[in-house]
Amino acid sequence: MNRQTVQSFVIFVVLLTIAFAGAAIGSLAPIDFIYDGI
């Protein structure tokens, strides 16, 4: 691997990790539970 490939490899891994974390957190549905009395 040359320097350019190593650099791009690291960039890819970091971006993919951020995307994964973002998807995990972003997938949480905001819930404002309204008690319906039943």
Binding site: M1, Q4, T5, Q7, S8, F9, I11, F12, V13, L16, T17, F20, A21, G22, A23, A24, I25, G26, S27, L28, A29, P30, I31, D32, F33, I34, Y35, D36, G37, I38
Partner: protein
């Protein structure tokens, strides 16, 4: 341009990539995420995030095992309770029918207008089978049968729990208009011990793919499991609103009106149940079939309870006093009880003791707030306590001279409490 010419940038960095490098990069990322548990220790704040306000043992010897409905982890782990297994653990699983809202001073529990059956039971009980007790409260507001199934699986496999009480809601147990309450916890069952193929089918029916993925990866990755706790710590701003915590505007069409279920006049209740007409109509809309959706959830719950071999008591939250004078309702609840008995026989085991008939009430004063919620319900707690002895064979030792009710009542403090 500020230099973010994506095609040019991508080409600069990735033009020379072979498929092997791409696969290696994806594998590296996967390993990095999956191995976070090796070098990341879950801090206490992550454990307690989403747990109820006082997740650690309360003076009344009640430990709240349920989490905030936004937190996908659903329930607390034994380690998070800080309890040792030297006490008798009684799990009480229920929707809000165990939540009491007293109106009169004489119905207040030790000065509190809001309390749960679990608080009272723990205050009036000293020991079970010779051991001090902890009541593990699995209370899920708005619980539907899919939620009870998840709680049953958790309590059945929790090493701190020695016996289980499960409250059946006569309005919702078989009501296929609702399978779960609103939460991020629907798929959590897939990451729990005791999940069956039926749970997979239900998860695919009712859960988002991201919830399913989260439940499956949760054990491998603290980052995934505790994502709600982490999200709460992230600084969100107006210019970059992420993560999104604000719920969308509530839809007025969220629940269909009761009248829309019926033809004109069909939902009318007799005078004895007039005050509970809407809830009565909802109750009568249950699907009393063994293959109904919620009957299947209940069956799965019974499997977990059976397999645990722990003594289990099922009782029905009582309906208001006027219910027994309502012929249509009485006939319906007769079929409801028969179905429950059939399902317990089919899906349960000898360790499960059913008292479906308590829908008719228990002897003693009971003040209803609505069809299942109470302003006072000590006789229900006494009935459960009595059944723990007569049906489950437990030795329940009560505290003596404990004043439970009235504004000034406080528990008697003793050294061995």
């Amino acid at each position: 341009m500020i230099g973010l010419d994506f095609p040019k940038t991508a080409e600069k960095y990735f033009a020379g990539w072979s498929w092997a490098v791409l696969v290696a990069a994806i594998a590296t990322t996967t390993i990095a995420i999956a191995s976070t548990n090796v070098f990341l220790k879950e801090p206490r704040w992550m454990q307690l995030s989403g747990a109820q306000k006082n997740p650690e043992p309360r003076p009344e010897r009640v430990v709240l095992r349920w989490r905030d409905r936004q937190d996908p982890r659903s329930f607390t782990t034994p380690a998070e309770t800080n309890l040792k297994h030297d006490s008798f653990g009684l799990a009480w699983i229920s929707g809000s029918s165990i939540s009491v809202r007293a109106k009169k001073k004489r119905h207040q529990f030790q000065g509190r207008t809001s309390y749960e059956f679990t608080d009272v039971f723990a205050a009036q009980t000293r020991r079970i089978d010779g051991r001090k007790i902890w009541v593990h409260e699995y209370m899920i507001q708005g619980a539907r049968t899919g939620d009870l199934r998840r709680a049953a699986a958790h309590a059945a496999n929790d090493p701190l729990v020695d016996a289980i009480v499960l409250s059946l809601n006569p309005v919702w147990l078989y009501n296929d208009w609702a399978a779960y309450t609103e939460s991020n916890q629907r798929a959590a069952i897939l990451g729990m011990t005791g999940a069956e193929w039926g749970d997979w089918v239900n998860a695919l029916k009712f859960s988002r793919p991201s919830s399913i993925a989260g439940a499956l990866l949760g054990d491998a990755s603290i980052l995934v499991r505790d994502r709600q706790a982490i999200a709460r710590k992230l600084p969100a701003s107006k210019s970059f609103p992420f993560p999104i915590f604000a719920a969308p505007e509530a839809s007025t069409a969220h629940y269909p009106t009761v009248a829309s279920f019926y033809g004109k006049g069909e939902s009318l209740a007799p005078p004895s149940m007039k005050a509970h007409e809407k809830y009565r109509a909802m109750l009568l809309r249950q699907t009393l079939k063994e293959d109904g959706q919620n009957a299947q959830f209940f069956c799965l719950a019974l499997h977990s309870l059976r397999d645990s071999a722990k003594p289990v008591l099922l009782y029905t939250a009582p309906l208001p006093q006027g219910a027994s004078e309502d012929a249509e309702l009485t006939a319906f609840m007769g079929k409801w009880s028969a179905l429950t008995q059939r399902l317990v026989s089919k899906c349960g085991g000898p360790n499960i003791h059913l008292h479906a008939e308590t829908w008719q009430g228990v002897p003693g004063e009971r003040v209803h707030r609505d069809i299942v919620h109470l302003r006072y319900g000590q006789p229900v707690i006494d009935k459960v306590s009595e059944l723990l002895v007569s049906d489950l064979g437990l030795n329940v030792e009560k505290r003596r001279n404990v004043m439970l009710y009235g504004k000034q009542s406080k528990p008697e403090k003793k050294a061995d409490d």
